[in-house]
């Protein structure tokens, strides 16, 4: 039940270098009027970042490209995608994905 100085400094340092990119743009950019092209670019950031995260999670779950025929995660993603499109429910999508991967891992 103690906090070591060395660990505290690591945690504090990590927190600081995470805090700055989190707050700097929202604190500064919301003060200024951005040009139209910049707004258009920012408008595509949510799609781009979410797609990149999905792609990375599904195609290279452990940092390496998984051969498609061995990729159960990719198959489990299908019911998750369909559930998301049909129900528009975030929780439903998560549950569909978890159940699918559980069944797939049990079967294969």
């Amino acid at each position: 039940m103690e906090v070591r100085w060395s660990i505290f400094l690591i945690i504090f340092g990590c927190a600081l270098v995470t805090f700055i990119p989190r707050v700097l743009p929202i604190a500064v950019l919301s003060r200024v009027e951005l040009p139209e092209w910049a707004m258009r670019w920012l408008n595509y950031v949510p799609i781009a970042v979410m797609a990149a995260l999905v792609g990375q999670e599904l195609l290279m779950p452990n940092g390496k490209l998984v051969p498609l025929q061995h990729n159960l995660e990719l198959i489990a993603a299908l019911p998750a995608f369909i559930t998301a499109i049909v129900t528009r429910s975030l929780l439903g999508t998560v549950v569909a994905g978890i159940v699918s991967i559980m069944v797939l891992r049990f079967v294969f």
Binding site: E2, A51, S89
Partner: protein, 239 residues
Amino acid sequence: MNISENTLLREENSFLAGVRDCLPTVLGYLSIGFAAGVVEKTAGLSIVEIGLISLLLYAGSGQFIAAAMIGANSPALAIIFTIFFVNLRHLLMSAAISPYFRHLTPSKNIFIGSLLTDETFGVAMNEAAGKKWLNEKWMYGLNITAYLNWFIANIAGAFFGEWISDPEKFGLDFALPGMFIGLLVLQLASRRKLLKDVLVALSAVAVVVGVSLVTSGSVGIIVATIIAATIGMAVEKWK
């Protein structure tokens, strides 16, 4: 009921609406946070240190990597430098969310930004679809719920982790990709430019795989976001 009470009630409702809109991400973050707690415990962190890292760093992949590096006795500066790059994607999300909080003071913007995560960003951008700005109290409700949930999950993982031998058997590791899929589809559905959005999404996937193979996963996310968003901007300009 007079006007000020009415306003107060509405503000309170917004906060609760934010809490409610956070609930779908709770299960996903609970399992990831639990796993993070287990990894942190295994890396030799005490319960108090785990509490601190979840409250101060407050970042899923960042905590996994920090814990692994602490466990491996990496030098402090190497850990901090790595975490900086792993979490640099927040820069882009913070910029993308900034137009919706123009009406707030800098200190409120800092408070909102400090609790920004992949999930709260995804939920907030869905809420923002078709709006000019986001409600401040709603954002607090969303952020604080996610924050507390993350802290509780980390501590729970640290306490009970040793009793759960194989979380993958229950498919809980799929909660994270499942959540990203849901957030992506909700984004695509809430905007009226499906063709361009799908093009941007596919570009992001292609770039993230290519770049991650030669550099690292976190660099991959940042490069993919920049290139794919630029493609979207260019296509919209020229069409």
